[in-house]
């Protein structure tokens, strides 16, 4: 056990946890004001539901000894997960660090279903998806599963987190169908500053995500850290130049998207490529995602916040370019195609395809399962009214005019079955 590593990983875990509320701001700004709280709650509730599912069974299915496809149940309820060393840090800390990844991955999928999914169905989806889809894929790559044995490179989760979430998003968007106003009315972001705030906080947290994936306070962590700075910078520059050339007016939503795309793309490569390769990777990732986003908006596919394009495609580009640009001189693990090892590219492609295919099938199964118990979609009326009021009984921007205080009955001493609060107005009617 090394003190510096423990200290570093404690901080990295907190940084990654911050990414989920950051994602709430990123997504929350992009929807209409009547759905702002619902969208942010989709991220916030992952902090609770996925974290618990992870501790109860998810961690075990991903990391306890099992077969090539899924881990065992020996660590369910964190049995045997204590302060003993896992590498140079306590295993319990490793569990928490991995838990923050499970949380953000599940929350990422919500971007495909905002403004229409029934919240209770979403919560059930979150919990089941973590167990059925996320935990096995994490096991394949990081838990000693078959992709790890094949030699797939995924430093911080380009395949496990982003390709996985992107494929799930695509399937979820198709399964739920488009929002009723989609392609009929302009649906505009209600708070672009929120989206920029979210992008900034995501970048900050992502240093924990990528550098922390070294699992030690080491030179390797420094490499991943620097690459996490440079790749989004390159994506931001390329995106801005593309917008300047195509419309003459670089947008703030575009900048926020570019930062996320660059971060997604460098995730699988962070500890495997040199800094100038990270610049190339970040810059290159911006172009296909930009084109995919522009094309998607003209189709009937309502992947509302473009999870499939930004995370699925961005993650795919990053994973494949890892197979091209990886350099043994930097990482001591493997070379990519550019450095004389074309087989690595094939391995990377296999990993992406396998994760995407499994995620698509698993997500569809989970959605069908949830649909047996609860309708997946809010009614058209609730969708029109907005999900903040219909699902949460709150509004993001209430002014309080015309609000009448409802007082519970405080008069009588607590009689046996407590009476339901009286819903009578205190004052007169307006």
């Amino acid at each position: 056990m090394i003190g510096a590593d423990v200290a570093f990983m404690l901080v990295a875990t907190a940084l990654v946890l911050l990414m989920t509320p950051a994602l709430g701001f990123f997504y929350g700004g992009l929807v209409r004001s009547k759905n702002a709280l619902n969208t942010m709650m989709m991220s916030v509730s992952a902090l609770g539901f996925v974290a618990l599912v992870w501790a109860v069974a998810g961690y075990s299915l991903a990391f306890a000894p099992g077969n090539a496809v899924v881990g065992g149940i020996s660590a369910a309820f964190l049995r045997g997960v204590g302060l003993q060393a896992q590498g140079t840090i306590p295993q319990l800390l490793f569990m928490a660090y991995q838990g923050t990844f499970a949380i953000i991955t599940a929350a990422l999928v919500s971007g495909a279903v905002v403004e229409r999914m029934r919240f209770s169905a979403y919560l059930m989806f979150l919990a089941l998806w973590t167990l059925v889809v996320y935990a096995p894929v994490a096991h394949w790559v990081w838990g000693g599963g078959w992709l790890a044995q094949l030699g797939a490179l995924d430093f911080a989760g380009g395949t496990v987190v982003h390709v996985n979430a992107g494929a799930a998003a695509l399937v979820a968007a198709l399964a739920l169908g488009p929002r009723k106003d989609y392609a009929r009315q302009a649906i505009l972001p209600h708070n672009v500053p929120f989206t920029l705030l979210g992008a900034g906080l995501l970048w900050f947290g992502w240093f924990g995500f990528n550098a922390g994936s070294a699992l030690q306070a080491s030179p390797l962590a420094a490499l991943a850290f620097v690459n996490t700075m440079l790749a989004p910078a390159a994506a931001l520059v390329v995106w801005t130049l593309v917008e300047l050339r195509r419309t003459g007016r670089p947008t703030a939503v575009g900048a926020a998207t570019a930062i996320v795309v660059g971060l997604v793309a460098i995730t699988p490569a962070a500890g495997f490529v040199g800094p100038m390769a990270a610049v190339a990777l970040g810059g290159l990732s911006a172009i296909p995602t930009y084109l995919a986003l522009s094309w998607r908006a003209r189709t009937r596919l309502d992947d509302s916040l473009d999870v499939a394009a930004a995370h699925g495609l961005g993650g795919t580009v990053g994973a494949l370019l890892t197979g091209v640009l990886a350099q043994k001189a930097w990482n001591g693990v493997a070379d990519g195609a550019l450095h004389g090892n074309p087989r690595q590219l094939a391995v990377q492609a296999t990993a992406v395809l396998a994760a995407a295919a499994y995620s698509a099938v698993g997500t569809y199964a989970v959605l069908k399962l949830v649909a047996l118990v609860l309708p997946l979609r809010a009614s058209a009326r609730e969708e029109g009214l907005g999900l903040d009021v219909s699902q949460h009984g709150e509004e993001a921007y209430t002014r309080g005019e015309g609000a009448i205080l409802v007082l519970p009955d405080l008069a009588g001493p607590a009689a046996a079955p407590a009476p339901a609060p009286r819903l009578e107005p205190e004052g007169g009617r307006a």
């Binding site: 009547k34 009326r381 509004e395 015309g402 009448i404």
Partner: protein, 123 residues
């Protein structure tokens, strides 16, 4: 001339505008307003505080039209703003005493006639 005042659901505004433009009604003003029209109150909770929201968000449109445009305007709104639930809103048609177009100081009928039509009529 009449002033058509319509109070509609905010989520129906897009449909209403589309219908109005289809009916070639081009001059209008909108406000976001709050009101109460007999719809069921929404109960909301903020920490320990439970409130009944007596006022609902609505959009008010004001449209000055010439007499023969009243029916197309009203039917466009009726068709587009309706959901069938309580709270769909109201349409009021009010008489107008005098209208001026500020740019040209035109009055009454000419002032509420869209520019292209007036130009064509003049030729």
């Amino acid at each position: 001339m009449k002033l058509v005042v319509a109070i509609v659901r905010p989520e129906k505004l897009g449909d209403v505008l589309e219908a109005l433009f289809r009916a070639e009604v081009r001059g209008l003003t909108i406000n976001r307003v709050q009101g109460h029209g007999g719809e069921t109150e929404r109960v909301e909770n903020y920490r320990g505080t439970t409130v009944k929201m007596e006022l609902s968000e609505k959009v008010r449109l004001e449209i000055g039209v010439s007499d023969h445009f009243v029916t197309p305007t009203v039917s466009a709104i009726l068709g587009a703003a309706r959901t069938g639930d309580v709270g769909d809103g109201k349409i009021f048609v009010l008489p107008v005493e005098k209208v001026y177009r500020i740019r040209t100081a035109e009055e009454d009928q000419a002032a509420v006639t869209p520019v292209e039509e007036a130009a064509t009529a003049g030729v």
